[in-house]
Symmetry: C2
Subunit: 325 residues, 2 copies
């Protein structure tokens, strides 16, 4: 049986596990969007190893044999252009790979502010030993917006260190295994004032775009800290900038921004109550080999005619799984 | 029955719970060491509310009725001068009050380096969005030097977030409830290379002074991070400075230094791989009322002739309790 054509968008990055894939498929490497478009005729599978790159849309008309696109990322918002969403092409993502690292990132951001490390740094650059107030986690409350696998792993970690943790999802529900309560996204402003830490990990969809806006910020505690590791566009960034500048909330940890890279001119860079990281909350010592192994396993299933794992619901914009899954 | 005379060294700080104490004792307030010496004749109980202050030793000859000294701190090293150690005066401390906050501080310091927040800050002051490597906790290993209540609470928290955690104590032992294994302090250099995170919370005694020295630093992983929240003198500070400057270890989080305050001229201030905080790892929103309530409860026990809690073994230099206690 002929091997399927697998085209990998590399972005000029080394592709972990490439030799294994060559045994299973007829591999074409495309460094950028232009090369991807040229390689699409006859391509059955596209593997977007450089998952920050766009490019599939511009070659879409030449995708004459495409059946499956794999994006080794959690969020597929940049991939789901209308033609792909309307097609029969299957889309899979890297659900699960980033869960533990992102949960740790959220906790790191929370502790950074709880222990007032921004003040420690500000004093340190002045060689200044001077006492200041710090807080602690016991009795504090977190709201995690996003009840998928990352949100659940985050909730479990925050609860393990003593933070009462609720969720914010499409629909309100009680009795969840990982969250104390799950509120409906539409009630965000109504409940935001009950929390010390608000963590955004929701997928970016028409429903979630701009969910953290002036109304929610006004409802938040002045002592509250935002951690955004979902997508920059979950936040109305000018509203956030205004709230941080005015001290309406205490701080923000931003792994995602609008746009990315965050422009050098952004006022966020200069704010002492903001910590910015360059979209790395899912990174770990093991995420590259884990991403490669996950795709290889799915490719073997594909060749066997078995169901694929982590198939994205292209209408919802994420992998829909039962609660607790 | 006459109330006992209770002299409180206030250091000019407000004494939380003072009104309650006035109901139980004949209270004298001493702002500093000189006032303490003047107040000592007839004093039965000394409460060192300003627990960073010295001063009892210089008035010792006039302590003609002293039976009990309470230090609302964890470490009693600065208090245990020879005359007090040799006397019949009971010494109690604030064992337990700082456990949770200090455990959180250790985790905050570990995550600060695991997620490479020092690099984030260095890039942020340049308005620079640039990817860099970060690590994660899964599979990492911590060694906690100090197996008292702070060390045990720290070990439980680190294990709750997935860090394999061993202890370093006076004697080696297995089968501990909180630690994977407990190594003997004498083997510090032999085992140091097995850990990613080394946390110092041991009491400062003749046995532990300078325990973190050039030999141990040379054995540590170049990727390892030190968290010292015990006492500055647990570390041979020039050895640590040299190791940090040479990159022999990856970083240090220092809540305690030699001396305190850390002099403005110390090279530690300027090191990007060092985070310095001014002896606040035990602080929280609740430590002041908790300290007051703990002393008041012990004072009530004293008045009832009941045994006191948290009596320091003045020869060992800390509260000796059964393992797991």
């Amino acid at each position: 049986m002929a091997k399927p054509v697998l085209t990998i968008l590399t972005g000029n990055r080394d592709v972990t596990g490439l030799e294994n894939l060559r045994e299973l498929a007829d591999v074409r490497l495309a460094a950028d969007a232009g090369e991807l478009a040229a390689a699409l005729p006859g391509t059955e599978i596209v593997y977007l190893w450089n998952y920050f790159a766009d490019g599939l849309q511009q070659g879409w008309e030449s995708a004459d044999a495409l059946k499956w696109v794999h994006l080794p990322a959690a969020g597929v918002d940049r991939l789901l252009f209308p033609e792909l969403a309307a097609s029969d092409v299957t889309v899979t993502n890297a659900r699960g790979i980033f869960d533990a690292a992102m949960a740790e990132y959220a906790l790191a951001g929370i502790l950074y502010f709880a222990k007032n490390f921004p003040q420690a740094r500000a004093n340190q650059v002045q060689n200044l030993w001077k006492h200041y107030g710090v807080s602690n986690l016991a009795g504090t409350r977190a709201l995690v917006a996003g009840t998928g696998s990352i949100g659940r792993t985050t909730a479990r970690l925050l609860r393990a260190v003593g933070i009462e943790t609720d969720g914010l999802g499409r629909t309100a529900r009680d009795g969840d295994a990982d969250f104390g309560a799950i509120h409906a996204s539409g009630d965000f402003a109504a409940v935001a004032g009950n929390y010390d830490w608000i963590v955004l990990v929701a997928p970016l969809t028409d429903d979630t775009r701009g969910m953290l806006n002036a109304k929610v910020l006004a409802a938040m505690r002045t002592s509250a800290v935002l951690v955004n590791m979902g997508r920059g566009d979950l936040v109305v960034q000018p509203d956030l900038e205004a709230a941080l500048a005015a001290g309406d909330i205490a701080g923000a940890v931003l792994d995602v921004t609008t746009p990315e890279p965050l422009p050098e001119s952004s006022p966020l860079w200069g704010m002492q109550n903001v910590l910015i990281t360059p979209h790395l909350s899912g990174d770990s010592r093991s995420h590259l080999p884990a991403m490669a192994a996950q795709f290889e396993a799915n490719l073997r299933a594909y060749l066997d005619g078995a169901p694929l794992e982590n198939v994205v619901d292209k209408q919802l914009g994420f992998v829909a799984v039962p609660a607790g899954g």
